[in-house]
């Protein structure tokens, strides 16, 4: 027995050694460079300067665009080169997080929501917004050193977007609608010279560039990379072979992964400040500096300052919180407000500060109640479509109490409405139907025609009982608390029988598609706007996306073949949207947008009880130039609007 145990022990030791040495990651990230005092006059990162000296990299002047075309970035303070920023992430399912952090769009939105040229140097537009001329930067290069020209833009448009090589069809922004005939026509994109291209529309498209910034983000692809990859150039067979070599299922998968989620692909040239250096599914996913990055600070020093972005994989959100508390991550976003006490307690010890970024959601997601205006049961549908019923549900709740019980006091009582600073914000709207008045609620219900049953609950006028079935996929405690308060307390109090259930996400999605939902709380797609004219999906029924307009969206998307035909104010809403698509000037668009928002204010189709809580972030105290506050939304590319490429570590600290 003893001899066996010894043998086993020895075996185990060997096993341990072998296992750890082999599996512990052969991610060879070079140790970060620490800035020295002479870095003030260095125009590029020391590691790159060393490569230039050794002759393996062209000089800085040859890597940047011509001096007049360099993007010079103004920032709070200029910094030193070196170090790395560590994040946590969930692997490939977080690819949009790693993508948005470093995105470099042709055009993008700045912190105030205004359009600005980014990869593009500038643009000209003619008087009736039918011809857009876009200027690129001379001398700009891809991350592998090849020149970036309008050829890359044209190539992307003609051979990738129009040919649908990455699984998406031509973006909406490239269509213009005739305001009279409502006919849609495609734009024409053509090259003017190496650094200029032109987009021509048949009809006026005043919001083209804004829509491009949302739909299109990037409108370019490395031609030299794709001509040796796409079936159109190398033949279907060779493409299949290449796909298998790269480890993909087939050429279609390869097209999608390299063409759309391209930032994951090691070796695919990009224009980003950092490029992925290993597989996105690793325990540690590292992005390394792009030596050909085309932006500098005001002193002419090439950006970014930080050498590497490190993404450490976790499997549960609580691990992100723990790592933030221990100071192991430099930027953590989306932290749970429920952990605010623990997070605050560790601020000094772990050297980070907590920041809050306002969101664009119309209400706290957990308190966002959507009644399906196209509910299958005709009696229920009529009830939901009745404004007075919605008002009754809204004034039945004590929002002050909810603010404390659901959001620990971090949110405020309000109606579901655009937040302060957003288009359409109206203090009256935010206060609409927010009084706590169960008596009036009961009056309203009686006024609709509901009759009080013997069990204390209201029934339909013909005596059939009514139960409000609320579902959600979100099993968070905030949603559960809110749902409990609504169903067990407030709605019960005014005589509405309500039930609440948590279902698996796929089941909810299925029910949404087949229009079997009655009411949803904490919807996946809560009402939110950055700008209703650019991203109307949560507020206008244009496809089967949100629970409150279900089948109306299907009706629009299938052009009347399926779904339910909208009536009343919703029909007005849709008609306004169509009008907006064919608008000829920005002023008209804004006017219509406000009209659409007014309709929402009239009807309160989505009921909300609390304002949204801001995004909670923990940022390393030594990280400079990280925005204290930005609006957090998809149009601003999440954390991307903070421009991490301008961040650096205060010297002799980390």
């Amino acid at each position: 027995m003893k001899r066996i145990s010894t043998h086993v022990l020895v075996f185990l030791c060997m096993l341990l050694t072998v296992m750890s040495l082999s599996a512990a990651g052969t991610k060879d990230a070079s140790p970060a460079q620490v800035a020295t005092s002479s870095s003030a006059i260095e125009k590029e990162a020391p590691a790159l300067a060393a490569q230039v000296k050794a002759g393996t990299l062209p000089a800085l002047a040859d890597r940047l665009p011509v001096p007049s075309d360099i993007f010079v970035m103004e920032m709070e303070s200029t910094g030193a080169y070196g170090e790395a920023i560590t994040f946590t992430f969930r692997g490939k399912s977080d690819q949009w997080t790693t993508g948005k952090n470093t995105e470099e769009n042709l055009f993008r939105f700045n912190s105030q929501g205004l359009l600005e040229a980014n990869v593009a140097k500038g643009f000209d537009v003619n008087d009736d917004a039918t011809v857009f001329t876009v200027y690129l930067r001379e001398g700009m290069r891809w991350s592998d050193g090849e020149p970036f020209t309008s050829e890359d833009v044209l190539f992307f448009y003609d051979h990738m977007l129009k040919k649908q090589t990455f699984g998406k069809s031509l973006w909406n922004c490239f269509y213009s609608t005739n305001p009279v005939t409502k006919v849609r026509s495609e734009a024409k994109v053509e090259k003017v010279d190496d650094y200029t291209f032109r987009v021509t529309f048949k009809d006026p498209s005043p919001s083209f560039l804004e829509n491009l910034a949302i739909d299109g983000k990037w409108l370019y692809a490395p031609k030299h990379y794709y001509v040796q990859l796409l079936p159109e150039f190398i033949g279907a067979e060779a493409a299949e072979k290449k796909a298998k070599e790269m480890g993909y299922k087939d050429a279609t998968a390869m097209g999608k992964e390299t063409g759309y989620y391209y930032w994951n692909v090691v070796g695919r040239p990009t224009l980003r400040p950092w490029v992925a250096s290993n597989d996105v599914d690793s325990d540690l996913h590292v992005w390394k500096r792009n030596p050909y990055f085309w932006k500098t600070d005001v002193d002419g020093r090439q950006l970014p300052y930080i050498d590497e972005l490190r993404y450490v994989r976790i499997s549960d959100p609580s691990q992100a919180t723990l790592k933030a508390m221990a100071g192991e991550t430099d930027i953590s976003s989306g932290l749970d407000w429920g952990n605010i006490v623990a997070l605050k307690q560790n601020e000094t010890r772990s050297n980070y500060r907590l920041l809050t970024w306002p969101s664009t959601k119309w209400s706290h997601t957990a308190t966002s109640l959507q009644l399906n205006q196209t509910a299958e049961n005709p009696k229920v549908r009529a009830l939901f479509q009745n404004k007075d019923f919605r008002q009754a549900l809204s004034i039945a709740a004590d929002r002050e109490e909810m603010a404390v019980l659901v959001a620990d006091g971090f949110a405020e009582p309000a109606q579901s409405a655009p937040a302060k600073g957003a288009l359409g914000y109206d203090p009256e709207w935010s206060a609409k139907w927010t009084e706590y008045n169960p008596t009036k609620a009961k009056e309203l219900l009686k006024g609709i025609g509901m009759v009080m049953g013997s069990d204390g609950y209201f029934r339909f006028s013909d005596g059939t009982p009514f139960t409000l079935e609320i579902l959600t996929h979100d099993d968070s405690s905030a949603t559960a608390r809110c749902a409990e308060l609504l169903t067990e307390k407030y709605f019960k109090n005014i005589g509405i029988k309500a039930t609440f259930g948590v279902r698996d996400r796929s089941l909810i999605d299925d029910m949404l598609v087949s229009n079997k939902i009655q009411a949803i709380i904490s919807p996946v797609s809560p009402a939110e706007t950055f700008n209703i004219s650019l991203r109307p999906d949560t507020l206008v029924p244009i496809r089967n996306y949100a629970a409150w307009y279900g089948a109306y969206g299907t009706w629009y998307a299938t052009e009347g073949k399926d779904g339910m035909k909208p009536e009343g104010d919703i029909l007005t809403l849709i008609n306004l949207y169509k009008e907006m698509l064919g608008a000829t000037s920005k002023a008209t668009i804004d006017e219509i947008a406000l009209k659409m928002l007014k309709l929402h204010q009239e009807n309160i189709w989505e009921i909300g009880y609390l304002t949204d809580v801001p995004l909670l972030l923990a940022v390393n105290n030594d990280l400079m130039n990280f925005s204290e506050s930005e609006v957090y939304c998809d149009e601003f590319r999440g954390l991307g609007v903070a421009q991490i490429l301008q961040c650096y570590y205060a010297s002799d600290k980390k």
């Binding site: 086993v8 512990a24 998809d634």
Partner: protein, 334 residues
């Protein structure tokens, strides 16, 4: 000769068993409404991507998800039998086997270590408990054993991680610290690696330890009250020889039977505890695959597990026959 026949028969029986299991598994995986495409679209939509109905339909036909499930199953099994092709994972967009191979090494490593820990700790304790029945040591070991068995693994993981964080200030999330992920594991940080291995070993190991301890203890007590032990003792055979050469051998009978599931659990490792502790093993991969209805990945992992269970049972039976001559002679008599 008889042994060969026996093994051969068992191996042949394995084929229909495994096929049946894989069929049932495939059926259950696709039961929840929707499929991989619908959950993928939902997830990506939440991130801001937009899909038209045509894109969704195109994705479905690309993945072959627009065919009825039994057709998909048949194609999949046929691929395995004829080409050894286990299909593609929709989430990873890679062949299923490459996804599994990614984590296979570390999963097997950890599982073997934990298994070794379990038996190395529980066998001596079980024997000690039996020999010193009702002593203080016996009670203490029993107490901790029951606590280990009663507490859910993941809860114990959370508690241990909490205490280790409070005491050391370093959260032991995952097997590798950030330093190790960057620079690899070397002799310098090997100590750190062992430290991080402690919690997974304790959490996953202790739940099985109790069962083995109690089993060994009761079997040993059983054997020690038998006639032959008394005879051996009166003959003058040393206590040690009685315990280890005679009693333990019979007592190991149920323990070896329990090993039949070991092979397959080595392949997957634990799941929930692994998620809580962020261990990069197979369990969480299976869990995510099931949640996303990534059919071929989940189906393959479960198929391999089924095969390993059957093989494990066979091996356990053979080892049992070797361990216990009574079984051998009984078979021969027939």
């Amino acid at each position: 000769m008889k042994m060969f026949n026996y093994i051969g028969k068992r191996l042949l029986l394995m084929i229909p068993t495994v096929l049946l299991i894989s069929f049932a598994v495939f059926f259950i995986i696709q039961l929840p409404p929707g499929d991989y495409v619908s959950s993928y679209v939902a997830r990506m939509s939440a991130e801001g991507e937009f899909f038209t109905q045509e894109m969704i339909d195109a994705m479905r036909s690309e993945y072959g998800l627009d065919r009825p499930w039994y057709i998909q199953y048949f194609h999949w099994i046929w691929g395995i039998i004829s080409r050894g092709d286990f299909g593609y994972s929709f989430s990873y967009l890679r062949p299923v086997w490459s996804v599994i191979m990614d984590r296979l090494g570390i999963t097997i490593g950890i599982s073997l270590i934990i298994m070794a820990f379990t038996y190395l700790v529980s066998l001596p304790i079980g024997i000690y408990s039996a020999n010193h029945q009702y002593s203080l040591g016996d009670y203490i070991f029993t107490f901790f054993g029951f606590i280990g068995m009663a507490t859910p693994n993941f809860l114990m993981a959370i508690i241990l991680m909490y205490f280790s964080y409070v005491r050391t200030g370093t959260p032991y999330i995952g097997l590798f610290s950030d330093e190790m992920l960057i620079h690899g594991v070397s002799l310098a940080n090997f100590g750190e690696f062992l430290k991080r291995l402690t919690i997974p070993i304790i959490v996953i190991g202790t739940s099985n330890t109790c069962a083995v301890i109690r089993t060994v203890r009761s079997q040993m007590l059983d054997e020690q009250s038998k006639q032959y032990t008394l005879t051996a003792r009166s003959k003058g055979v040393s206590e040690r020889k009685i315990t280890y050469k005679y009693c333990l051998r019979s007592a190991l009978n149920p323990v070896v039977s329990g090993l039949s599931g070991a092979l397959s659990s080595i392949f997957t490792g634990s799941t929930i505890s692994a998620i809580v502790m962020n261990l990069p093993i197979q369990g969480p991969v299976l869990y995510t695959a099931l949640r996303n209805q990534d059919m071929y990945l989940a189906g393959t992992i479960l198929l391999v597990q089924a095969i390993l269970v059957v093989i494990g049972t066979l091996i356990a039976d053979i080892v049992l026959a070797w361990l216990d001559p009574r079984i051998r002679y009984e078979t021969v008599k027939e």
